[in-house]
Symmetry: C2
Subunit: 196 residues, 2 copies
Protein backbone atom coordinates (compact mmCIF):
# COMPACT_ATOMS: atom_id res chain seq x y z
CA UNK A 1 0.00 0.00 0.00
CA UNK A 2 1.40 3.43 -0.86
CA UNK A 3 1.41 6.40 1.48
CA UNK A 4 -1.29 8.01 -0.65
CA UNK A 5 -3.89 5.31 -0.17
CA UNK A 6 -6.32 5.64 2.70
CA UNK A 7 -5.36 3.32 5.56
CA UNK A 8 -8.68 1.56 6.20
CA UNK A 9 -9.33 -0.63 9.20
CA UNK A 10 -9.78 -3.65 6.93
CA UNK A 11 -6.51 -2.98 5.09
CA UNK A 12 -4.68 -2.81 8.44
CA UNK A 13 -6.30 -6.02 9.64
CA UNK A 14 -5.57 -7.80 6.34
CA UNK A 15 -1.89 -6.95 6.67
CA UNK A 16 -1.84 -7.73 10.41
CA UNK A 17 -3.48 -11.12 9.86
CA UNK A 18 -1.00 -12.00 7.11
CA UNK A 19 2.02 -11.01 9.20
CA UNK A 20 0.67 -12.67 12.37
CA UNK A 21 0.06 -15.89 10.44
CA UNK A 22 3.54 -15.80 8.91
CA UNK A 23 5.63 -15.01 12.02
CA UNK A 24 3.26 -16.07 14.80
CA UNK A 25 1.92 -13.74 17.54
CA UNK A 26 5.12 -13.91 19.62
CA UNK A 27 7.57 -12.92 16.89
CA UNK A 28 5.39 -10.35 15.13
CA UNK A 29 6.04 -6.70 16.02
CA UNK A 30 3.96 -3.63 15.20
CA UNK A 31 6.91 -2.51 13.06
CA UNK A 32 6.55 -5.70 10.94
CA UNK A 33 2.89 -4.89 10.31
CA UNK A 34 3.67 -1.24 9.56
CA UNK A 35 6.33 -2.37 7.06
CA UNK A 36 3.85 -4.67 5.33
CA UNK A 37 1.53 -1.67 4.98
CA UNK A 38 4.36 0.61 3.90
CA UNK A 39 3.57 3.11 6.66
CA UNK A 40 5.51 4.25 9.72
CA UNK A 41 4.79 2.52 12.99
CA UNK A 42 3.73 5.93 14.32
CA UNK A 43 0.97 6.01 11.71
CA UNK A 44 -0.13 2.49 12.65
CA UNK A 45 -0.17 3.34 16.37
CA UNK A 46 -2.69 6.10 15.61
CA UNK A 47 -5.10 3.31 14.58
CA UNK A 48 -4.18 0.59 17.08
CA UNK A 49 -2.57 1.34 20.42
CA UNK A 50 -0.62 -1.94 20.75
CA UNK A 51 0.19 -5.29 19.21
CA UNK A 52 -2.34 -6.81 21.60
CA UNK A 53 -5.06 -4.51 20.23
CA UNK A 54 -4.17 -5.55 16.66
CA UNK A 55 -4.19 -9.21 17.56
CA UNK A 56 -7.56 -8.87 19.27
CA UNK A 57 -9.07 -7.02 16.32
CA UNK A 58 -7.77 -9.67 13.88
CA UNK A 59 -9.20 -12.45 16.05
CA UNK A 60 -12.52 -10.65 16.44
CA UNK A 61 -12.88 -10.25 12.68
CA UNK A 62 -11.92 -13.89 12.13
CA UNK A 63 -14.47 -15.10 14.71
CA UNK A 64 -17.22 -13.05 13.07
CA UNK A 65 -16.41 -14.20 9.54
CA UNK A 66 -15.66 -17.85 10.22
CA UNK A 67 -17.94 -18.72 13.15
CA UNK A 68 -20.80 -16.27 13.77
CA UNK A 69 -21.72 -15.38 10.17
CA UNK A 70 -22.15 -18.96 8.83
CA UNK A 71 -24.27 -19.88 11.90
CA UNK A 72 -26.61 -16.93 11.34
CA UNK A 73 -28.17 -18.69 8.32
CA UNK A 74 -29.29 -21.62 10.50
CA UNK A 75 -31.15 -19.26 12.86
CA UNK A 76 -33.39 -18.09 10.03
CA UNK A 77 -34.34 -21.50 8.64
CA UNK A 78 -38.06 -22.17 8.68
CA UNK A 79 -38.04 -25.93 7.99
CA UNK A 80 -38.05 -28.53 10.76
CA UNK A 81 -38.58 -28.14 14.50
CA UNK A 82 -36.80 -25.73 16.84
CA UNK A 83 -35.00 -28.77 18.28
CA UNK A 84 -33.73 -29.65 14.78
CA UNK A 85 -32.53 -26.09 14.20
CA UNK A 86 -30.87 -25.95 17.60
CA UNK A 87 -29.11 -29.24 16.94
CA UNK A 88 -27.97 -28.12 13.46
CA UNK A 89 -26.70 -24.84 14.88
CA UNK A 90 -24.80 -26.65 17.64
CA UNK A 91 -23.31 -29.22 15.28
CA UNK A 92 -22.23 -26.49 12.85
CA UNK A 93 -20.50 -24.64 15.73
CA UNK A 94 -18.71 -27.79 16.90
CA UNK A 95 -17.74 -28.78 13.36
CA UNK A 96 -16.42 -25.29 12.58
CA UNK A 97 -14.22 -25.33 15.68
CA UNK A 98 -12.81 -28.76 14.85
CA UNK A 99 -12.19 -27.79 11.23
CA UNK A 100 -10.32 -24.60 12.13
CA UNK A 101 -8.28 -26.45 14.75
CA UNK A 102 -7.15 -28.90 12.05
CA UNK A 103 -6.95 -26.60 9.03
CA UNK A 104 -6.20 -23.12 10.34
CA UNK A 105 -3.93 -23.88 13.26
CA UNK A 106 -2.30 -20.41 13.39
CA UNK A 107 -5.60 -18.56 13.75
CA UNK A 108 -6.94 -21.18 16.15
CA UNK A 109 -3.87 -20.76 18.39
CA UNK A 110 -4.31 -16.99 18.28
CA UNK A 111 -7.99 -17.35 19.15
CA UNK A 112 -7.13 -19.68 22.06
CA UNK A 113 -4.64 -17.14 23.43
CA UNK A 114 -7.13 -14.28 23.05
CA UNK A 115 -9.73 -16.38 24.91
CA UNK A 116 -7.45 -16.27 27.94
CA UNK A 117 -6.07 -12.76 27.53
CA UNK A 118 -8.92 -10.67 26.22
CA UNK A 119 -12.11 -11.33 28.09
CA UNK A 120 -13.95 -8.45 26.35
CA UNK A 121 -13.46 -9.82 22.81
CA UNK A 122 -14.59 -13.29 23.85
CA UNK A 123 -17.58 -12.02 25.83
CA UNK A 124 -18.79 -10.09 22.79
CA UNK A 125 -18.37 -13.19 20.60
CA UNK A 126 -20.17 -15.46 23.08
CA UNK A 127 -22.98 -12.90 23.55
CA UNK A 128 -23.44 -12.86 19.78
CA UNK A 129 -23.69 -16.66 19.63
CA UNK A 130 -26.03 -16.78 22.64
CA UNK A 131 -28.36 -14.25 20.94
CA UNK A 132 -28.46 -16.49 17.85
CA UNK A 133 -29.40 -19.52 19.95
CA UNK A 134 -31.92 -17.45 21.92
CA UNK A 135 -33.78 -16.70 18.67
CA UNK A 136 -34.13 -20.42 17.96
CA UNK A 137 -35.13 -21.14 21.57
CA UNK A 138 -37.70 -18.34 21.49
CA UNK A 139 -39.25 -19.87 18.36
CA UNK A 140 -39.56 -23.20 20.14
CA UNK A 141 -41.13 -21.57 23.19
CA UNK A 142 -43.60 -19.63 21.05
CA UNK A 143 -44.75 -22.75 19.19
CA UNK A 144 -45.11 -24.67 22.47
CA UNK A 145 -42.35 -27.12 21.53
CA UNK A 146 -40.19 -25.95 24.45
CA UNK A 147 -41.12 -25.13 28.05
CA UNK A 148 -41.78 -21.43 28.67
CA UNK A 149 -38.83 -19.43 30.01
CA UNK A 150 -36.45 -16.60 29.23
CA UNK A 151 -34.92 -17.52 25.85
CA UNK A 152 -31.60 -15.76 26.48
CA UNK A 153 -31.08 -17.44 29.89
CA UNK A 154 -31.89 -20.84 28.43
CA UNK A 155 -29.59 -20.21 25.45
CA UNK A 156 -26.75 -19.20 27.78
CA UNK A 157 -27.26 -22.37 29.82
CA UNK A 158 -27.17 -24.48 26.63
CA UNK A 159 -23.96 -22.76 25.57
CA UNK A 160 -22.34 -23.35 28.99
CA UNK A 161 -23.47 -26.97 29.15
CA UNK A 162 -21.84 -27.75 25.79
CA UNK A 163 -18.55 -25.89 26.48
CA UNK A 164 -16.58 -29.14 26.39
CA UNK A 165 -17.47 -29.52 22.73
CA UNK A 166 -16.73 -26.01 21.47
CA UNK A 167 -14.55 -24.11 23.99
CA UNK A 168 -10.93 -24.05 22.70
CA UNK A 169 -9.62 -24.99 26.17
CA UNK A 170 -10.94 -28.49 25.40
CA UNK A 171 -9.46 -28.70 21.88
CA UNK A 172 -7.13 -31.54 22.85
CA UNK A 173 -10.09 -33.70 23.94
CA UNK A 174 -11.82 -33.27 20.56
CA UNK A 175 -9.39 -35.75 19.05
CA UNK A 176 -10.59 -38.50 21.39
CA UNK A 177 -12.90 -41.03 19.80
CA UNK A 178 -15.69 -40.62 22.37
CA UNK A 179 -16.58 -36.95 21.78
CA UNK A 180 -19.50 -37.59 19.40
CA UNK A 181 -21.09 -40.11 21.77
CA UNK A 182 -20.46 -37.75 24.70
CA UNK A 183 -22.13 -34.90 22.85
CA UNK A 184 -25.09 -37.12 21.96
CA UNK A 185 -25.63 -37.97 25.65
CA UNK A 186 -25.41 -34.32 26.73
CA UNK A 187 -27.71 -33.25 23.90
CA UNK A 188 -30.34 -35.83 24.85
CA UNK A 189 -30.32 -34.65 28.47
CA UNK A 190 -30.53 -30.97 27.49
CA UNK A 191 -33.30 -31.54 24.98
CA UNK A 192 -35.24 -33.51 27.56
CA UNK A 193 -34.89 -30.46 29.82
CA UNK A 194 -36.10 -28.09 27.09
CA UNK A 195 -39.06 -30.08 25.81
CA UNK A 196 -42.51 -28.96 26.95
CA UNK B 1 14.76 -41.87 55.49
CA UNK B 2 17.78 -44.15 56.03
CA UNK B 3 18.92 -46.85 53.62
CA UNK B 4 17.64 -49.46 56.05
CA UNK B 5 14.02 -48.41 55.97
CA UNK B 6 11.71 -50.01 53.43
CA UNK B 7 11.06 -47.66 50.56
CA UNK B 8 7.26 -47.71 50.47
CA UNK B 9 5.23 -46.21 47.66
CA UNK B 10 3.72 -43.70 50.09
CA UNK B 11 7.13 -42.66 51.42
CA UNK B 12 8.32 -42.03 47.85
CA UNK B 13 5.19 -40.06 47.00
CA UNK B 14 5.45 -38.02 50.22
CA UNK B 15 8.99 -37.01 49.32
CA UNK B 16 8.13 -36.44 45.65
CA UNK B 17 5.17 -34.24 46.55
CA UNK B 18 7.27 -32.19 48.94
CA UNK B 19 10.08 -31.67 46.41
CA UNK B 20 7.67 -30.98 43.54
CA UNK B 21 5.87 -28.38 45.63
CA UNK B 22 9.13 -26.73 46.65
CA UNK B 23 10.88 -26.54 43.25
CA UNK B 24 7.92 -26.85 40.86
CA UNK B 25 7.50 -29.65 38.26
CA UNK B 26 9.90 -28.03 35.77
CA UNK B 27 12.88 -27.61 38.07
CA UNK B 28 12.47 -30.84 40.03
CA UNK B 29 14.66 -33.77 38.95
CA UNK B 30 14.45 -37.43 39.94
CA UNK B 31 17.84 -36.90 41.62
CA UNK B 32 16.30 -34.20 43.87
CA UNK B 33 13.61 -36.64 44.96
CA UNK B 34 16.13 -39.45 45.49
CA UNK B 35 18.23 -37.08 47.62
CA UNK B 36 15.23 -36.17 49.76
CA UNK B 37 14.69 -39.92 50.33
CA UNK B 38 18.42 -40.49 50.93
CA UNK B 39 18.55 -43.20 48.24
CA UNK B 40 20.35 -43.38 44.89
CA UNK B 41 18.42 -42.33 41.80
CA UNK B 42 18.96 -45.88 40.53
CA UNK B 43 16.97 -47.19 43.49
CA UNK B 44 14.20 -44.67 42.85
CA UNK B 45 14.06 -45.58 39.13
CA UNK B 46 13.29 -49.18 40.14
CA UNK B 47 10.02 -47.86 41.61
CA UNK B 48 9.17 -45.10 39.10
CA UNK B 49 10.46 -45.10 35.55
CA UNK B 50 10.52 -41.33 35.06
CA UNK B 51 9.85 -37.94 36.58
CA UNK B 52 6.58 -37.91 34.63
CA UNK B 53 5.53 -41.18 36.29
CA UNK B 54 6.32 -39.73 39.73
CA UNK B 55 4.41 -36.57 38.97
CA UNK B 56 1.40 -38.54 37.75
CA UNK B 57 1.40 -40.78 40.82
CA UNK B 58 1.60 -37.75 43.13
CA UNK B 59 -1.28 -36.08 41.29
CA UNK B 60 -3.36 -39.26 41.31
CA UNK B 61 -2.94 -39.64 45.06
CA UNK B 62 -3.78 -35.97 45.60
CA UNK B 63 -6.93 -36.24 43.45
CA UNK B 64 -8.10 -39.29 45.38
CA UNK B 65 -7.46 -37.77 48.80
CA UNK B 66 -8.65 -34.23 48.14
CA UNK B 67 -11.45 -34.67 45.60
CA UNK B 68 -12.85 -38.21 45.31
CA UNK B 69 -12.71 -39.30 48.97
CA UNK B 70 -14.61 -36.32 50.46
CA UNK B 71 -17.32 -36.64 47.76
CA UNK B 72 -17.87 -40.33 48.54
CA UNK B 73 -19.65 -39.43 51.80
CA UNK B 74 -22.33 -37.48 49.91
CA UNK B 75 -23.13 -40.51 47.74
CA UNK B 76 -24.13 -42.50 50.81
CA UNK B 77 -26.38 -39.92 52.44
CA UNK B 78 -29.93 -41.10 52.94
CA UNK B 79 -31.61 -37.79 53.75
CA UNK B 80 -33.27 -35.61 51.11
CA UNK B 81 -34.03 -36.32 47.47
CA UNK B 82 -31.66 -37.68 44.81
CA UNK B 83 -31.75 -34.21 43.25
CA UNK B 84 -30.59 -32.69 46.55
CA UNK B 85 -27.78 -35.23 46.86
CA UNK B 86 -26.72 -34.67 43.25
CA UNK B 87 -26.70 -30.94 43.76
CA UNK B 88 -24.69 -31.24 47.02
CA UNK B 89 -22.22 -33.56 45.30
CA UNK B 90 -21.80 -31.18 42.37
CA UNK B 91 -21.42 -28.12 44.60
CA UNK B 92 -18.84 -29.91 46.75
CA UNK B 93 -16.86 -30.80 43.61
CA UNK B 94 -16.97 -27.23 42.30
CA UNK B 95 -16.13 -25.79 45.72
CA UNK B 96 -13.19 -28.17 46.19
CA UNK B 97 -11.74 -27.19 42.80
CA UNK B 98 -12.05 -23.47 43.54
CA UNK B 99 -10.56 -23.90 47.02
CA UNK B 100 -7.53 -25.82 45.74
CA UNK B 101 -7.01 -23.32 42.93
CA UNK B 102 -6.83 -20.54 45.54
CA UNK B 103 -5.14 -22.34 48.42
CA UNK B 104 -3.00 -25.09 46.91
CA UNK B 105 -1.80 -23.43 43.71
CA UNK B 106 1.24 -25.70 43.21
CA UNK B 107 -0.77 -28.92 43.26
CA UNK B 108 -3.52 -27.35 41.17
CA UNK B 109 -0.98 -26.33 38.51
CA UNK B 110 0.47 -29.86 38.52
CA UNK B 111 -3.01 -31.34 38.22
CA UNK B 112 -3.79 -28.97 35.30
CA UNK B 113 -0.61 -30.07 33.50
CA UNK B 114 -1.34 -33.76 34.12
CA UNK B 115 -4.85 -33.23 32.71
CA UNK B 116 -3.24 -32.34 29.39
CA UNK B 117 -0.31 -34.74 29.47
CA UNK B 118 -1.59 -37.90 31.12
CA UNK B 119 -4.95 -38.92 29.74
CA UNK B 120 -4.91 -42.25 31.62
CA UNK B 121 -4.66 -40.69 35.11
CA UNK B 122 -7.44 -38.24 34.35
CA UNK B 123 -9.70 -40.85 32.76
CA UNK B 124 -9.40 -43.00 35.87
CA UNK B 125 -10.21 -40.01 38.09
CA UNK B 126 -13.20 -38.97 35.96
CA UNK B 127 -14.48 -42.57 35.82
CA UNK B 128 -14.33 -42.70 39.60
CA UNK B 129 -16.35 -39.47 39.92
CA UNK B 130 -18.85 -40.60 37.27
CA UNK B 131 -19.42 -43.86 39.18
CA UNK B 132 -20.15 -41.85 42.33
CA UNK B 133 -22.71 -39.71 40.50
CA UNK B 134 -24.18 -42.80 38.83
CA UNK B 135 -24.99 -44.22 42.25
CA UNK B 136 -26.96 -41.10 43.15
CA UNK B 137 -28.68 -41.08 39.73
CA UNK B 138 -29.56 -44.77 40.07
CA UNK B 139 -31.20 -44.06 43.44
CA UNK B 140 -33.31 -41.33 41.83
CA UNK B 141 -34.33 -43.64 38.99
CA UNK B 142 -35.23 -46.43 41.38
CA UNK B 143 -37.45 -44.18 43.49
CA UNK B 144 -39.15 -42.80 40.38
CA UNK B 145 -37.80 -39.29 41.00
CA UNK B 146 -35.76 -39.36 37.76
CA UNK B 147 -36.67 -40.66 34.29
CA UNK B 148 -35.58 -44.25 33.65
CA UNK B 149 -32.25 -44.65 31.84
CA UNK B 150 -28.72 -45.96 32.17
CA UNK B 151 -27.36 -44.29 35.34
CA UNK B 152 -23.73 -44.29 34.19
CA UNK B 153 -24.55 -42.68 30.81
CA UNK B 154 -26.68 -40.03 32.48
CA UNK B 155 -23.98 -39.39 35.09
CA UNK B 156 -21.34 -39.01 32.37
CA UNK B 157 -23.57 -36.53 30.52
CA UNK B 158 -24.07 -34.53 33.74
CA UNK B 159 -20.32 -34.46 34.28
CA UNK B 160 -19.66 -33.29 30.70
CA UNK B 161 -22.40 -30.67 30.82
CA UNK B 162 -20.89 -29.09 33.95
CA UNK B 163 -17.25 -29.16 32.74
CA UNK B 164 -17.09 -25.36 32.66
CA UNK B 165 -17.54 -25.32 36.43
CA UNK B 166 -15.04 -28.00 37.45
CA UNK B 167 -12.58 -28.71 34.58
CA UNK B 168 -9.24 -26.99 35.35
CA UNK B 169 -9.04 -25.66 31.76
CA UNK B 170 -11.76 -23.18 32.83
CA UNK B 171 -10.08 -22.19 36.12
CA UNK B 172 -9.54 -18.62 34.94
CA UNK B 173 -13.30 -18.18 34.34
CA UNK B 174 -14.12 -19.25 37.92
CA UNK B 175 -12.99 -15.86 39.17
CA UNK B 176 -15.66 -14.10 37.13
CA UNK B 177 -18.67 -12.94 39.11
CA UNK B 178 -21.24 -14.73 36.93
CA UNK B 179 -20.18 -18.35 37.50
CA UNK B 180 -22.68 -19.10 40.29
CA UNK B 181 -25.60 -17.73 38.26
CA UNK B 182 -24.33 -19.61 35.18
CA UNK B 183 -24.17 -22.84 37.16
CA UNK B 184 -27.66 -22.27 38.52
CA UNK B 185 -29.06 -21.91 34.97
CA UNK B 186 -27.26 -25.06 33.74
CA UNK B 187 -28.35 -26.98 36.81
CA UNK B 188 -32.01 -26.02 36.34
CA UNK B 189 -31.93 -27.18 32.72
CA UNK B 190 -30.22 -30.47 33.58
CA UNK B 191 -32.55 -31.20 36.48
CA UNK B 192 -35.51 -30.49 34.25
CA UNK B 193 -34.06 -33.09 31.85
CA UNK B 194 -33.60 -35.64 34.64
CA UNK B 195 -36.95 -35.27 36.38
CA UNK B 196 -39.55 -37.95 35.70
Amino acid sequence: MSHDQILTRDAILDAAEQVLRRYGPEKTSVVDIAKALNVSHGTLYRHFASKAALREAVTERWLDASISAPLEAIVHRTDGSAADRLRSWMEALIQAKRTYLAQDAEMFAMYTAVTVESVAVIHAHVDHLVRQMAQIVEGGMRSGEFKAGRPEDVARALFSATARFHHPAHAQEWLSGTMDADFEAVWRLLLSGLAA
